[in-house]
Each structure stands twice: as C-alpha cells, then as structure tokens.
Symmetry: C2
Subunit: 580 residues, 2 copies
Amino acid sequence: MSKILRVNMTNLTAKFEDVPEKYKLTGGRGLTSAITCAEVPPTCHPLGPNNKVTFATGIVTGTTAPTSGRISIGGKSPLTGTIKETNSGGMAPQKLAHLGIKAIVVEGQPKEKGKFWLLKVDKDGARLLPADNFVGKGLYETYPLLFDKFGEKVGIIGIGVAGERLMANAGICINDPQNRPSRYAGRGGMGAVMGSKGLKAIILDDKDAPGVHIVNKEVFDAGRKKLTDALQEHAITKPGGALHTYGTAVLVNIINEAGAFPTRNFSDGRFEGAAKISGETINENCKKRGGVGTTDHSCSPGCVIKCSNVYPKPDGTELVSVQEYESVWSLGANCGIDSLEVTGELIRLCNDYGVDTIEAGVTIGVAMEAGLAEFGDGKKAIELMHEIGKGTPLGHIMGTGAAATAKVFGVVRCPTVKGQGMPAYEPRPIKGIGMTYAISTMGADHTSGYTIAPEILGVSGKVDQFDTNKADMVRNFQYATAFIDTSGHCLFVAFAILDIASGFEGIVEECNGVLGTNWTMDDVGRIGGDTIKMERAFNEAAGFTKAHDRLPEFMNYEKLPPHNVVFDVPDEVLDKVHAP
Amino acid sequence: MSKILRVNMTNLTAKFEDVPEKYKLTGGRGLTSAITCAEVPPTCHPLGPNNKVTFATGIVTGTTAPTSGRISIGGKSPLTGTIKETNSGGMAPQKLAHLGIKAIVVEGQPKEKGKFWLLKVDKDGARLLPADNFVGKGLYETYPLLFDKFGEKVGIIGIGVAGERLMANAGICINDPQNRPSRYAGRGGMGAVMGSKGLKAIILDDKDAPGVHIVNKEVFDAGRKKLTDALQEHAITKPGGALHTYGTAVLVNIINEAGAFPTRNFSDGRFEGAAKISGETINENCKKRGGVGTTDHSCSPGCVIKCSNVYPKPDGTELVSVQEYESVWSLGANCGIDSLEVTGELIRLCNDYGVDTIEAGVTIGVAMEAGLAEFGDGKKAIELMHEIGKGTPLGHIMGTGAAATAKVFGVVRCPTVKGQGMPAYEPRPIKGIGMTYAISTMGADHTSGYTIAPEILGVSGKVDQFDTNKADMVRNFQYATAFIDTSGHCLFVAFAILDIASGFEGIVEECNGVLGTNWTMDDVGRIGGDTIKMERAFNEAAGFTKAHDRLPEFMNYEKLPPHNVVFDVPDEVLDKVHAP
C-alpha cells in the first residue's frame, strides 16, 4: 500500500502516513491541489510557516505507461498568490512512485534561519540530513556533489540559489537521464517555498523499492497499448515526427507565421529573427556540429515522444540541454535576441541558478522595456541573469519575476496575469489561449489548456484563431488538462489523444488498471473539473475575483502587429468559462 | 461660480468646465472619490493612460474657517491598486480655492515619453508650459527655481525624482508658508500617477482671484466661531497645548508607554530610545539650540493648531521641517534609530526626492529585516535613501515601498495592508486601529479613522485598547473622517470636536454657510458613509474582497512584546464593520 510522507521542518521529522480514503483515487495535480486546499490557509503568506509544498506523482507514474514520468508540485505560489501546481519529468518522479510514496508533504519552517536540509528517501525510510555543503552554489556544481555522495542512480528534486534566497521565480529542479540539473517544475516560484522550508533537495533512491501496485494488469496493459499506438501514429508525437525531430521549438516558425510570436516584450507578433532560433535550426546545428548534439533525447525514461535535445557549441561540446520552444522564445524573441548561442547560455544560467526560463525571459523583456538594456543585447541579458546568481538587489528584482520588475520600474506593458509571465503565444491574435491565460487558476499558463492545438495546429479540428466565442472550448481544455495532469502523463500526449480517441481511452484504462476503477471517457471532465473547481475555491478564499480573470489592460488598447488586433474577448465571455 | 479644470496631457489642453450638479455639494475627498469612481475604470493600470489624478479643495478651504487649508488628491493608487485619497496642507490648497476651482482633473498621457510639463493657473486661465529645466533635480533645488520664475507668492503642487521615475511611493509636494518643499500628500504613490501624466508641477497664482463664494455668511461665521472656540479650548489643540508645544511627536512617549510603538520592523512594541526622538526632546532642542528652531509653526495659513516645527542643527541653522510623529517613528524607532539628527536628515531626503516618510521608513525597516543594513544603522539608512535619488535598481526597490521590497527580498514580516505600510501604531495591542488598517479603503492608514483618540488618548471617552468588539466605533470613525476630509479641515480638528460637540456643529454650519445647505449633525455619517461606500464599490470592482480586509498574517501568530499579544480580532468582527 502506498503512503504519504509528511515532513515537518520545524521538528525535523519525516513520518509515513496511510493514504486517506479521499486521496486514494487521485494523484499528481488532483492530489497536490486537494492537499493544498485541505491543509493550507488560502490567505497565508506563501513563504511563511503555514504554507506547505506537496510533491505527488501521477496515478500511472512509475508504471510502464508511455510518457508518464511526471511529478506535480503544489502549494500556494509566492509569484501569484494563487494555488499552484507545476509539474516536471526527469529522473525523480518514477523513483518516488517506485518507493510506494503517493505524496510528500513538507510543512513548517526550521527554527534556525538560513539553515538547509536534505531529505533522503529510500526503501528503508526517510530522514533529514544537513545540507550545509550543498548550498550557495550553482546547480551544475551542486548536483554532481550530490551524486558523488548518494550515487549516480538517485533522483534529485532540488533548488538553486534562487530558491535559497526565496526569489519568487525560483523553480524546482530534477535531474535528467544523464543527471543534468535541467528539468524544471519551474513555474510559480515553488522553489522559493521549498527554500522557505529550509529544504535544499529531496534525494530518492529506489533500489529494491516495491514499485507501483497495479490492481488490474490486463486492463492496464490494454490501455497502455492504445495510448502507445496513438502516440506512435500521430504526426506530432510519433518517432521521427515533429516533436522528435525538431523539439518543441518546431513551433517557432509556425507561431511566428500566425503573427502570434511575442516579440520585444509583447510589442510585436512577428520576429524577424525567428528562423535563427527555430526547431529547424536547432536540428540542423545538432546534425552539422556533431559531438554531443542531438534531438533524440527524452527527459525521463519511458517517453516515446522524446521532444528534448542536447544543443552543441560549434565545436560539438555541450552548450545546454534543452533548447525548448518556450525558452528560445522567452530568452530570444521576447528580448529581441536571435541567437541560439545566447538563448543556450541564458537557459544554462536559469538551470544553474534555479529559475523558470519563461518567467526569466519575460522578466528580461520587461527590464529591457524599463531601459536596463536594449532589446537584442544578448551580452547585457546574460549580465542581468548573472545578477540573480550574485544576489544583488537587481538580481533580487530579476529573480522575483516580471510583475515585480514592472512594479519596481513603473513599466505599464507588463505581460502577466495574476503576477505570472505569459508564455510564447500572443493572446491578441489567438483568442482562446488569451482566455486560457485569463481564467487559469494559476496565472498566465499555456499548459492549463493548450487551445493552440485546435486554434493553430488543427489538432482535434481547426478553429479560427480570431474567433472570440470559445468559452466552452476553453473550459473543456482546462478540465481535460487537469485530468491528464492527475494521471501522470506529460501534456504532450494531448496532440495524439485529441485526434485519436482510442488513445484517450487508453489513458482512462491505464488509470482503471492501476486503481481498479471503472472510469469511462465521461468521467474525464468530471474528474478534471472537480480539481479546477477546488482550485478556484482556494483562489476565491485567497481574495481572487473575476477582476483578476483578465488580461493586462494594455492588450485591450494596444494593437499588435502584424494583424493589428487588440484582445477583444468580452468580459462576459471570459466569465462564462467557469460560470456557463 | 466655481469650475472644474480638466487637463488633458495627451492633447496638452486645459479647459474649464461647469461643475455638474452632482458635485456641487461636495469637495475634498468626497469629490476626488466621486470623480475617480465616475471616470476611472477600476481595473485600469494606475500608471497607464486610463487613470486620472484629481486635485480638489475642501468645501470650506479658502475661507476663514480655522485649520481648513487642505487639498485632497485622488485617483487609483499604484501602491495599493485601490482608490486613493491623500490630503495635505501647505500654501497651494487655499490658492486653488481662491481661483474658483473646485477640482483639477488630469487625464491622458503625453505622446512624448519622458517629457514633463508645468500647469500654470492664475486668474487669467490655465496653460501648460515645458518643464524641461525643472526635472531630474532634488526639490530643494527645484522649488526655488520655480519661485524665481513664477514669483514667491505662488502655491506649488509638484513631484520629485521619485514621481518622475514612477516609483510607487512617490508623494506630491506642496510648499509651506516659507516655501519649503515640505508638505506632502504623501501616501499611496499619487506622485507616480502625476509623473505618469508627465505633469511635474501645478503653479497656482491667486493674485486678484475671486475667492470663495459663501452663500450664507452669517451661518458660516457662527460655525467658524464654534469651531475656533473648540480648537482654542481643547488641551490638545489649543495655543500652548500639546500639539502646539511638542508637535505630533508628543505621541512618541505616549504610544511607547502603551506598548504600541512599532520598533525594528514591528518586532517590538516599545523602543528603548523613544525619549530621544520624542516631542519633548524636539521642543527642548528647538529652545536650547536657538536659531531657526521653533515649534510654533503652521503648515498653512489660518491654522490655529500649529503642530509643525522647524528643527535646528546644533548650531541653530535649519536641519529640516518637519519632525512629525509619523516620520520620527518610521525613520527612527521602526529602523531602531534613536537620533533626531538622523531622522531629520532622512526626512529632508524624503522631501528632496519626493517620497512619503511613513512608507519610506517602513520600507527601510523591511530592508533591514532583509539584511541590507543592521537595525539602528543610521548611516546605512541614509545611504539606502540616497539610492532613491540615484535611481539605482536598489533605489527603485526602496522607492516602490515596503510590500515590493518584502516581495523582492522574500521578507515575511511585512507590515502592510493592501500594499501600504502601516503607520506608527501597533495593531496587536490597539485593536481598533488594527481594524481600521484592515478595513480602510486605502490600505493601512491611521488617518482613515483615528481610533487612537478614544483607545489611547481618552478623547471622546476612553475605551480599552485590548477590547476587540469595536466594529461600530471603527465604522463611525471612518464615516466621520470622510466627512472631515470632504469639508477641507485638517483631521486634527477631531481632537477638539470629538470632545466638544459645538465644535463639530461648527464644521457642519461652516459647510452650510458656504453651500447654502441645511445639514445637521445627523448628515455627517450619511455624507461620510456615502463616500466610503463609493470607495468600497470601486475597490470591489478592482478585485478587492474581504480577504484583503485583513492584517498581515504574521500579526496573527507572532506575539508582540511587551504585552505579548497577537492580533486577535475575529474575521467576522472585521467583516461587520462595513456589513453590520
């Protein structure tokens, strides 16, 4: 029987508890949000003693289900003040599941301020160890030291100096299959919450661990096959398909062509340098430069999509893993930078200091708007990132994210919702994603409902990107996504399962196999919807209203080239998403 | 007939309009809040094109009513995001009234970014002039340049570099009777709104101006006499009384004795160095040092209370005007500083750069908590203030106020409500003022309802400072205060009129005299209450809920010495203030 591990940082205790009945049929986001709603006062200070951070694997994580190696990390966000769930792949999620742990709940705060700890978990139990030797350093230095101490086969969930310093853009880092500190549950500043608990890292050793119990192996296997088939058939997710060949940055040219590639702090929808930072160029350089460069890279074992990459320097040695769409956009086009060498270095610094690449790039864009650097000045952008590492006042500003940077410098063109920086899709010419940003329970977040699939990619049918009547679609995407985030699958399975119904059935059957349930496709919306409603109730109690379910005002009056459109979805339509 | 002057900074026009019927019987805060509610979208960006800043004199301002030289400045606050009214004395309010102008409404934004203008108003009209020669300098340099240009007898309402740089703690400065840049409508960052409009200063020349029309002179005179008598009779407000002799800093020893003098960023209620920064010490040094030092100083003509002072250096030359209670507390005890030389220098820098002293001191306290300086280090505190003048990243943080500073440095002990720093009364041992901070429409604000009068000073009867059942009292104080802020009287008249009923009748009669109304004492609560309700409706539309009508969480679990109490007013009692 799987357990919940409760870690109290005030008393420095780590105790296993039985999983309460109400949590037995959920996992991932469904579980982190349920625990946060049950245990965290909505009005508490995110960095104070009453917040908690919960780590929960998905329902099927740790099984052989394809592309399901995800962990959800949840609590109250210091970036947004809302409830937060941020998920990641990497080597840790499956190990946590193998250890028979459904969730780790970390609460309290050390009496000794500035003291950090490691949580070591293996088949024999869990214990807290002093982290003194592992703080104050970049993660490219720290993670190897941890592997030296605990062996190469552990999973690590840790924070960098940004998290130690309680910066609101601190992410939580998980090692990739080659043990790079490169996979992030980045959004929402949960690294700062971990930092506020004095928890530097969780070390997971699954040697001789029991593994995940599957109630009905036959049902599970049937589901797994359906999903695997769908992933291997769909043009976007199949081996040699778009994501495998070009990575997520395959989107650069597509979104740029759609006039929705946010450029120079959301002042243009098309970037003249897009081709230079595209997936095609990444692929070409990986091939041309040889050495370690490859687009055939996955972030966690068992992924059949393999959208990751290792990007080489001109001499074939490693610059960084991974040049993803969101990162090459945020640290590239959004800052007017058209160089993969620069975006690669900036991504490396984000990984090293422990911050989210999206928020970091949106922050640099705002800083450029404020006059701290010229748009396009890669050298200066790198200097700005280094300030985070140095912990200077400017570094603290940059590490606190775009909304704080805009506030401090009086910048009105601040592309955030509920304090979180917008991802790489301009809402003005793509109305559904704008609605999604506006009404998401966690601030601007494309992964809360990836309506880009129908609006741009033609997945699950094509809808007009400029159509404003999308309340039903946006709601349905939010619900389905919450379900996927609960299952433990990477959201990228959505491309395949939206087009191939049997793939979606496969996910439901995998869950039924693991849990012994009899869910049908009809349960997906209910299960995901229950999570969203719970999250909205938390936010409402925390003080959020429909006035916060809005895009930043400037998008209502500044026309965005090349389509020269404003965001014109009426407030009533936004309000209809969750009150139909 | 008085007019409204509408200034459009986009078109650079200044036009007089008739006063609409609905605004004829109001003034001051009643008018700024009404115009803000009618014309400013509650969800607009405070520094964007859709906010407006309104300057309105009180109903009786510009008449011979005693202590009535106030101007209200309102709009949406960049500090709090709420509606804001902040008022001040100084030489400008009465001149504006003499010019027959009920309000100036400033809207739009210059097309040319970074360009600043002066608004010159005299009996012949209003016009905008380039301000190029008057920007980028300290106000102790700028104001004399403006008086050189426009004559010594003008009133000036202007901003310093903090406002030019859009810092959320930028105040609006008004010259005192000796033309110092020393009187401030400081709170809520309205200086940044003025800055965002490209308006550096308003120059008011009332030579040969028509003056204020009084409908019924007899009624007015009777009221004026009643109020004057009350002010001259009450121990706190009379000539040679507490405020006249010691200034507002007479409160230092009183509040310290009550265990409610916030010390070292609200971590103690009693400051060991209180006596050194007290009103008694100010008075003693003014006498002992001779020279320009005096406690016989008023901020505007016609004030019979004269709570201001000019504080001398040891050699008798001027250090600063004015060492007020809030300032010697915020920049003194709250930073662990027990030197009037240091607080004087810090106040001078606030005046020079154009920031609110309360917020500046609360911000330095938070910065000290964050480790940027040791508590008590006056030299470092002065350096931190200079950063604002230099416009460094750290200066931008400090100029953005306490909440932003806490956010950027991850400080949990952040004594703010709705983003505004708390004034000099600890809410944990004085429950009514804590309730007032919590439910004020404008963030933590003692001037929204000065319940210290009954809770500590025994004015209008004495109530127990620890009693938590004060919803009715808090509401009544808010309503009465909104009326006083509308009348144009300084809030300090409250001491006298709360104890001497005929004084309060006097204010009502003064208003009746000016307006030709027949208000009675029963109308006070209605008129003030209407303003509060209107302000709350604005805030609700802007996204504020009862979750924001709360003190910071740490005050609920950190016990404050010496009484070792937390803030224990139940949420239901807080909610009863405005929903009885």
